[in-house]
Symmetry: C2
Subunit: 204 residues, 2 copies
Amino acid sequence: MSTHIKHATPDFAVLDAIANRWSPYAYDGRGVEPAKLKQCLEAARWSASSYNEQPWSLILAQRENKAEWDKALACLLEANQGWVKHAGVLILTVAKKTFTYNGKPNRVAEHDIGLAMGNLSIQATALGLDAHQMAGVNLSVVRSTYNIPEGYDPVTAVAIGYAATKANAPDAELYERDTKPRTRKKLSEFVYAGSWGQTSPLVK
Amino acid sequence: MSTHIKHATPDFAVLDAIANRWSPYAYDGRGVEPAKLKQCLEAARWSASSYNEQPWSLILAQRENKAEWDKALACLLEANQGWVKHAGVLILTVAKKTFTYNGKPNRVAEHDIGLAMGNLSIQATALGLDAHQMAGVNLSVVRSTYNIPEGYDPVTAVAIGYAATKANAPDAELYERDTKPRTRKKLSEFVYAGSWGQTSPLVK
């Protein structure tokens, strides 16, 4: 069963799994095979982190377990619930705010969650899956639903599943959103050298 | 010229560029080829971000430009300067704190910098390079050195270069640090389901 593929248009060659990674809104309602899901989580596991703290905890909901699926879905902002409900897996990310080795604040805990979910997303793409990360999470609902203790903060959510084709999309409007071309700033707009706002000669 | 390779020991198969990505301390003093560097930056460019804000700006220093190299190096904490000086490229990351489309705070700007630098690091590994990210940056020195405007925050630094072998390491002590095995928590320690601290059956 094919899924929608939405290529980037890179100016310089990058790994297929990086070029082809995108964030769909229309999922086709299939679950994610446990073996593939473990590979995605394993990719996150080997991510870099400051002092190797690995500040990430992941609350995992698979659509096959309806009670847990509904519980996790209810933690998202309503606008996200509308499309995530067709995905196969939903992950809520939680950051430990202090370093375990000395108890001091970890300034980059959320940054390192981003790193780990980046690894996960690239691995998902390599396996024919599609991951969509979102900030649109009701953080206080996550905390109360799952009894997140002091010292830990909910950060984001990640949907994983199979992007729908036009034929198997749950909703024409969602599919329509997924047909828009992918756009990015040019390298010359954000790669500086010497001083702020001065484009590096490398990317001029 | 070979470089030191330090494999992960994944329990489930992941992309080579994810398994082989690691953060060296001993670089061999070579610069990074411009073509490869552009591929790394391009990988960051295509990263996901909340509302496609792309909140990252990157200040790039290549060791071939001594004045800019020294300027960027001086922004790191001293302990990091000692090893980064043998790398080929140093990037200082800066996050835009608000969304361009509505001016409101972007809670996940630093998270999204992490995502982008994760992409960059994986692409670096795929090209035979090694990236090492660090939080040990003197943030106020970055701000004053590069005149970072209000509304933007320096976040991290990333060294890129070629990991040294024992034979071409600049320093035996740095190389020694790089021979330690890579360690990670088990998936069962951080993948929960249903409630906080309850390991998901998937990874038991």
